[in-house]
Amino acid sequence: MIFSLTIGRYPLPLSVIAKIMWFRLWGLVGQFPDTYEVVVWDIRFPRALLGVFVGASLAVSGTAFQGLFRNPLVSSGTLGVSAGAGFGASLAIVLFNNTALIYIFAFAFGVLSVVLSYLIGRFYSATPTITLVLGGIIVSSVFSALVSLVKYAADPYEQLPAIVFWLMGSLASARYSDLMVAGIPMAIGMAGLFAVRWQINVLSMGDREARSLGINTSVAKGLVLACATMATAGAVCVSGIIGWVGLVIPHIGRMLIGNDNKLLVPVSISLGACFLLLVDMLARTISGSEIPLSILTALLGGPFFVYLLKKTKGGGW
């Protein structure tokens, strides 16, 4: 993370960074050029922090959803959080073009889509887990269609590019204020998932067995669902849609340390954080203009995943 602070358009040596951070933390007035201080403290540091939070949130909620739905193919976006948030953001871009409202709309629609998926899942009570995923797919596709509708109606010179870039994900807008606002749901969600991490193991045995093992399944599932949704919606509303992290980081964790969520949850948190930090660092350095994150997460994560698959022989699947 510290390393990420040195890299960028203004390459700075580690020693300068350390001094700037030190002076800032103690409220001292340093003798550095203003540009240095702004670059490190106001641009790179919040961005790195945000990357850590977003990566960790997406990865850990992906892990939780995979366990909860007993399905290794689901990701943090399965219940429609990403699609809902994408629609909320696009709508806000077209209607208001105000950053705060984009966050609020994205968060609200992200949460709304999970609530909708949940309600659809409840229609059919015999196998609630499967219908919940089905509900998520339905809600996701409806919101994707709505995003297309908004794109179609958007002004092609100003609003459309904004929507497209938002949908591809970026941490470029990171400021401390964003971190304060979106960090709260992310932190609560992650803390909640960390607390119930072992119970996710038991929930992955299926409703009937989990209940006979002594878990109050409706309460525990609701809790996991709420925490994972908060973490994902918090992440998506500031960073846009970053694919791949919520699906593959959990699997990389599974290959490295196994499937016990007691270990896997903290490992996903740190892997997700490191991965997104690294990807974001590349995003802002390899070319003159920023590369959207989703492109890089897939381009980097894909080959790495295949490499791990080969090396660990899939870990017992």
């Binding site: 366990g67 119970q199 038991v202 045995m205 209940r211 006979s212 002594g214 809790l223 016990d260």
Partner: protein, 271 residues
């Protein structure tokens, strides 16, 4: 007092009756076998007892308490469940699976303690599966998996264990291994077992091994007969319930008591 008592139980899926007027008791160190054709409601009855299905009428008492008033964790400290077919998901290790038997003793926001790990070791040792401890349970054979499920139920340290056709899909030898394990557990720990089974000879096996065994012959939603294996699983009842001609055979092993088994000869009537 009976550990488990089912009183005048009725159950229906929407308006289709599945179980009617079911009554039985299970005491300490006893085995109660539910026996009957496919679709007669054995698994449904087990789910009613477990509380995963809501009964329409009647009562299920566990240690004198109505199961509907028990929280899942309280119920899970009284009765453990061995599923018929466990759907495998993630390749957890055997140890991690058995540890899940301790969920009832673990708070919502905590992880298992040293004591829980000790209980897991003990359960695996009793079933004899320590050598599988670190193996991904998705790579086990059907028989090994069933032993793991029994070990998980044993780690729950309950007085009652509920088994749904524990030998389904197992080979000749593993079927016997499971039955012997059950006999050993009942003998050594005084466990009480409620078991659904497709094989009349399971009941005879327990009876032959001097375990107090009761059989309920289920047919079309109710108990057609309840009693000792040789009374309930007679040649006549096989004919009536399954339209199968069967012979009761008996033999003396090691010059000791009489061992009984029932052998199917041929089906009668329309198929």
């Amino acid at each position: 007092m009976a550990l488990l008592e089912v009183k005048n139980l009725f159950f229906s899926y929407s308006d289709q009756p599945v179980l009617e007027e079911v009554n039985f008791k299970l005491g300490k160190g006893e085995i109660f076998c539910l026996f009957g054709p496919n679709g007669c409601g054995k698994s449904t009855l087990l789910e009613c007892v477990l509380g995963t299905l809501k009964i329409s009428r009647g009562y299920v008492y566990l240690n004198g308490r109505d199961v509907r008033n028990l929280r899942p964790a309280e119920a899970a400290r009284q009765m453990a469940y061995v599923p018929q077919l466990h759907q495998k998901t993630f390749p957890y290790t055997v140890k991690e699976i058995v540890l899940m038997g301790r969920a009832a003793y673990t708070g919502m926001f905590t992880s298992p303690s040293e004591e829980d790990y000790a209980a897991v070791e003990e359960a695996m040792q009793k079933i004899g599966i320590q050598r599988l401890s670190e193996k991904p349970y998705t790579q086990l054979s059907g028989g090994e998996l069933q032993l793991v499920m029994i070990a998980r139920a044993l780690a729950q340290k309950t007085p009652v264990m509920i088994m749904d056709e524990p030998t389904a899909h197992l080979d000749f030898r593993h079927e016997l291994i499971i039955l012997e394990t059950v006999v050993q557990l009942v003998r050594e720990t005084g466990l009480s077992i409620l078991m659904a089974t497709h094989f009349p000879n399971h009941a005879f096996f327990f009876d032959n091994n001097d375990i107090p065994t009761t059989v309920a012959l289920m047919n079309s939603r109710r108990f057609a007969a309840v009693g000792r294996p040789e009374e309930v699983l007679s040649e006549q009842s096989m004919q009536r319930t399954f339209n199968v001609e069967a012979r009761m055979v008996s033999y003396y092993r090691e010059g000791k008591k009489e061992f009984r088994q029932i052998v199917a000869v041929r089906t009668n009537g329309l198929r």
